[in-house]
Symmetry: C2
Subunit: 404 residues, 2 copies
């Protein structure tokens, strides 16, 4: 790779699942590129590397500032997105096209799969001797990227989850029973764990939190819920879609197979895990009112609920990536690191693409209580500044009137 | 019933499904009662008439103003709620208790079932000669109360639905396919129809809207989606949980029975209808990416997303009810009426309890397009002031780069 800034155009694209703030990263990168003399035109590829392969580029240098700021404040991926891992042949074709467009800067905004894509492209570029400054900009609601204290997209999604469970807890208190909320996160429990931020009063839910990091047992789940219900007369449960048994098999898949064996019926879809858990409670307990919701795609694209910290950092990490790209060292993944100390502050640091690519970061043990069904204060302290202040909640003092 | 204000205590309770603004009505009534010399103490019954029957009262006159305002801004029913229709025996017991607490004013906040409860209690009070000023204060996210232009709770729930579908449309645009959102409303389509407010650009979803007011055909649904998908390369669908076939049978129940006949498998739960519709598309079309979400309880209890108009009116209608109760005529349901004219304005009017009780109001024909899968401009004009301004959405100008 080159030792100093090289003149050329820049291609940027978005990849993987959308988030509420991924466009902040896009706009941050575009605006910063405009300030860098080494970077000439900024082209956006539509739907990630698929857009590169199809030569579907839009000229982002010609977007006006007002329009870009409106896009930055809009959830989901403005350039469109894709889930695609490039082959060696894809890379050869990508380089042909990037060369044609005089591209020397390549930015890929996404999660660990997208980091892997950037890593593959970077390795191939090195191998074939194409001077390309290849960067990954982090993004994922799952918060599961290695090397990062947290990832852009997580704070806003966590804010949605916390608000949703806060509302559900109020609903459940008014109309008691069991309420199960299924939260995104196939391998990492960070988003499900954020439901704990919903608590305001000591008896508030979520009363039970099930994470992929701890083996799930259906018997224990039923017993846990019965215990909470006996105590509070109600129970709010937050459960990760990725919960798995002691053998690592996803609970949803496991029970779906069992049902198939019985009746050859195709059971699938977004509601399955929640309905399964509710069904088990109805079958094995005497609790009459059991409801389940799957929070679904709203968690990553709901407008008007962004965490300000998340939005700011999503932009800054992209700005930092562009600044880094015109320096001496010329590839990598930008990460968010937290400064030690009581006051929340972060800085951005470049790491090798290989350090972030593919692998999943899980909830550390210190964030999970020994019970396995709750998070620790350390997690709450970790998550609170990322999510920002939640809506204020009030309760009646409920001064009882003496019975007559 | 009495011809002029009678001195006594007041009992107020909440009933039916919670909403984001039902506590505004509670607090409005409590504060206004404090201004009325005829009303002495205000008692809140916990969990509706169940709390009356169990003598579970809290003294709302002893709540401080700051606390009450915090409660007003909090979603869900602060007094707890119930779904219960009183028998004649219940009424006799209720009057025994209300008399013991020197109660002359009774307010029940809820939907058409709650209006029926108030109506029954009022009729029984008249029959047995108990002077009780019995009022219903409207509340329902379904917006299905007769006599009302709209109901408190609807605007905020509609705001949630519109924002959710707005986010889903952005998500679907970035990662194309079919997205189905199942919206609350078993008999009336107002909430599902509010998804149309999500549209900003001409190609924005929801592209198809299915309401309980129009018969649902699975074949037509599949054909509709295929047509939209062929045109836009994607499709966002908003569908009411209450869609029914030409015989009035709920689609969910109908297909659930069919599956039972095949395999004796218990299929139920919140996710069923969405999963069913997605499954049909996977089976009968070549569209590979089909997803469904059921918006669920978040629609009625999500904090921090209240429509200001909704919150204001929920309070005012309760204030109006209390003012009316100390006047000459002494029972009824307060309604929200819209003033004719371009500028949005409402007034509150008392109607007989029988006019609101039990029956469901449906979407009028002028709100539904001839296609049966979209709403009219008349509906959008009707709904927009109730929901308030939605988050601003931006798009890239997407100036294409010429292929080289």
């Amino acid at each position: 790779m080159a030792k100093k800034a090289v003149q050329g155009n820049m291609v940027i694209a978005q990849s993987g699942g959308p988030t509420m703030v991924i466009n902040q990263s896009l706009v941050g990168a575009v605006l910063e590129a405009g300030r860098q003399p080494a970077i000439r035109q900024v082209y956006g590829a539509l739907h990630g590397i698929k857009g590169v392969l199809r030569e579907q580029f839009v000229n982002l240098s010609r977007e006006n500032r007002t329009g870009l700021e409106a896009v930055a404040a809009t959830p989901s991926s403005a350039l469109g997105t894709v889930r695609m891992k490039p082959t060696v042949e894809d890379c050869a074709r990508i380089f042909d096209i990037l060369r044609t467009y005089d591209t020397r800067y390549f930015f890929y905004i996404g999660g660990n799969d997208s980091a892997e894509t950037a890593h593959i492209i970077n390795q191939e570029a090195n191998r074939v001797g194409y001077e390309l400054r290849c960067f990954h900009i982090p993004k994922t609601v799952d918060n599961d990227l290695r090397e990062n204290d947290h990832t852009p997209g997580y704070g806003s999604a966590a804010r949605f989850v916390a608000a949703a469970v806060m509302g559900d807890n109020l609903d459940n208190r008014a109309l008691p029973g069991v309420k199960i909320d299924v939260v995104m996160g196939r391998h990492a429990g960070f988003l499900t764990a954020a439901s704990a931020l919903a608590r305001v009063y000591p008896d508030d839910g979520p009363h039970l939190i099930y994470l992929p990091e701890r083996p799930f047992s259906m018997d224990r789940f039923v017993a846990d819920v019965e215990r909470v219900y006996a105590k509070h007369g109600r129970c709010v449960v937050a459960v990760s879609e990725g919960i798995a048994d002691e053998n690592g098999e996803a609970v949803g898949a496991k029970y779906m197979r069992e049902v198939d064996a019985h009746g050859n019926v195709q059971l699938s879809g977004s509601g399955f895990l929640g309905d399964l858990l509710a069904g088990q409670l109805k079958e094995h307990t005497r609790i009459s009112r059991v409801r389940a919701d799957t929070l679904g795609y709203l968690q990553r694209s709901f407008p008007g609920l962004v965490s300000e910290t998340d939005a700011r950092e999503a932009r800054q990490v992209a700005v930092a990536a562009v600044r880094e790209s015109v320096g001496k060292d010329v590839d990598g993944s930008m990460t968010i690191r937290r400064r030690p100390g009581k006051k929340y502050a972060v800085f951005y640091e470049r790491v090798p693409l290989s350090a972030v690519a593919r692998e999943t970061r899980h909830m550390p043990a210190r964030f999970i209580r020994a019970s396995g069904t709750d998070v620790t204060k350390a997690f709450l302290d970790y998550a609170r500044p990322l999510v920002g202040p939640l809506p204020a909640i009030g309760r009646l003092a409920e001064r009882p009137v003496k019975k007559r």
